[in-house]
Amino acid sequence: MSAVTDLLQQVVEGLGSGAVYASLALALVLIHRFTGIVNFAQGELAMLSTYVAWQLVASGMPFWLALPVTLAVSFAGGMLVERIVIRPVQGAPELTVVIVTVGLFIFVNALAGLIWSFTVKDFPRQFPDGGLDLAGVRVDWSTLGILGVVAVVMGLLYLLFQHTSSGLVMRAVACNPSSARLSGIRVGRVLMLGWGLAATVGAVSGVLVAPVLFLEPNMMGGVLIYAFAAATLGGFDSPVGAVVGGLIVGVAETLTGAYVDVIGADLKVGVPLMIILAVLLVRPQGLFGRAAVVRA
């Protein structure tokens, strides 16, 4: 295998894991757009969704039926979380809200351990084994599948936000909640929808990554860090940035893991830290963010 095909191989694999980071980053960015906060519990909510899917499959439901059910449950769960946990501190200082999401993080993580124990579970593979051979570069069906799913999610979100009136209302709330209120929009309901949507998008990332990482309560902790790096890189206000950032972070992670001996596989988790620090030093608003928005 030549050096070039080897490099391309790494890039393809990076894109595969990057797509997972992208979808969780997308969920983070959605919430940030709506509420201006970063939801530290996003990964754990995704993990909980994945357990729901696992439970459904384990009780005999075919995966492709369990998936829509899981997404629906996640949507409802996200709305409930907004109503019960976030609404009471809405409008409170950022620190309070952040601490509440950290509390939610701890709680959900432990809850999953309480219900399903901390032992690792095998998650069914959604995509067939094997793949394509493109001029020596092997592209697994699963990689293609993950990229495809994330592309579909992006496309659906685009349609929702740009071409439906609910999407228009949601964008209005994200842009100027008090004005939205004066226009008669029930902002509380829209925020619930936003959280539901984010939880659904996050659930997609959990279900996609579970066959690779194996399912356990701490599964999403690492993914969350990468998603943070992706959102920071893309700009916390830009859904497109989240996806591009996710892919870049995924590729950067794989390449450094493969080619930088000092780092290797075990220290790859330092890559997001480096990316976050570098972005903050060089371009704090991220690639697609607006400077004015980032400065609080």
Binding site: V169, A172, C175, N176, S179, L182, G184, I185
Partner: protein, 288 residues
């Protein structure tokens, strides 16, 4: 000082706006024909934020189809009055619109009852295009029923109506609202409020930060809308002369109380009042 009454307005006073025919542009008599002098009725309104009491008991009425100006120095409570009407500030007393109590409602409820508040600073949705901003205004219209073809046609007709009032917005309909000039943003904000045919339009400092010519254009449009659509308007304005030009009645607020109420033309023509209460130099008042 006998005709423009000091302190509380007798309920009867607003029943007969008694607008004298003044030469030129301000022949505003049609509102006097209104059979509903208490369309908007504010009584004993105390309002503020937290423990801070800004309004100390306000009483006034606005007839259906009337333009009412609220004037006064900075900090008198003009903005708070509007905020209390639209549910953005809490208060006690009573505010009824066509007999329905408004106090204690949330902003979205007030909006659903027909109050359209254009806040100071315009509250534009900067990330949305001009047309999307207007569609948000039409949200209430479309949100209620299942959106069929007829409903969509109605929204399109509403958009046309607004573009008719504000031709400049049509030119910019695909542009992001954030990229508009201040005057255009103010037009957009008013257009967004008007598209839902509000029962009551609240304008907070529409002239703020705008060039005089733009302001004048804006006020002419408000007057035209009021005449064509019979929209009831309450306008808060620093530029007293402008506001008095389009208003039927005016109230002067000072430190949270009404100190003066009367027909707009009377207040405008009374040099003493204008100078003492509104800071309008005597030589300026004939200019419009």
């Amino acid at each position: 000082m006998s005709e423009p009454t000091t302190g509380r307005t007798e309920p009867g006073a607003s029943a007969e706006p008694d607008v004298p025919e003044v030469s030129g542009t301000t022949g505003r008599t049609e509102a006097g024909a209104s059979a509903e002098p208490d369309f908007l009725k504010v009584s004993g309104l105390h309002a503020g934020y937290g423990r801070a009491r800004v309004l100390q008991g306000l009483d006034f009425s606005v007839a259906r189809g009337e333009v009412c100006a609220i004037l006064g120095p900075n900090g008198a409570g003009k903005t708070t009055t509007l905020r209390a009407l639209s549910g953005m500030a809490g208060g006690r007393g009573s505010v009824t619109l066509d007999g329905t109590e408004l106090l204690g409602r949330s902003p979205e409820q007030a909006a659903r009852l027909g109050v359209a508040h254009v806040p100071e600073g315009r509250g534009t949705f900067n990330d949305l295009t001009v047309e999307e901003n207007l569609r948000i205004g039409a949200h209430l219209r479309t949100a209620r029923r299942w959106r069929g073809r007829a409903e969509r046609a109605a929204v399109t007709a509403d958009l046309e109506r607004i573009y008719g009032h504000f031709p400049r917005l049509r030119q910019r309909s695909r542009q992001a609202a954030g990229s508009l000039s201040g005057g255009e943003q103010q037009m957009l904000a008013i257009g967004r409020a008007l598209i839902r045919r509000p029962a009551l339009l609240l304008l907070d400092e529409p002239s703020l930060g705008l060039a005089p010519l733009v302001t004048r254009e804006l006020f002419e449009i408000v007057r035209a809308v009021n005449e064509e659509e019979r929209t009831t308007v309450v306008v808060v304005e620093q530029n007293a002369r402008l506001a008095l030009d389009i208003a039927h009645r005016a109230h002067v607020l000072e430190a949270g109380r009404l100190v003066l109420s009367g027909p707009a033309a009377r207040i405008r023509e009374d040099g003493h009042i204008a100078e003492v209460y509104l800071g309008v130099p005597a030589h300026a008042r004939k200019a419009g």
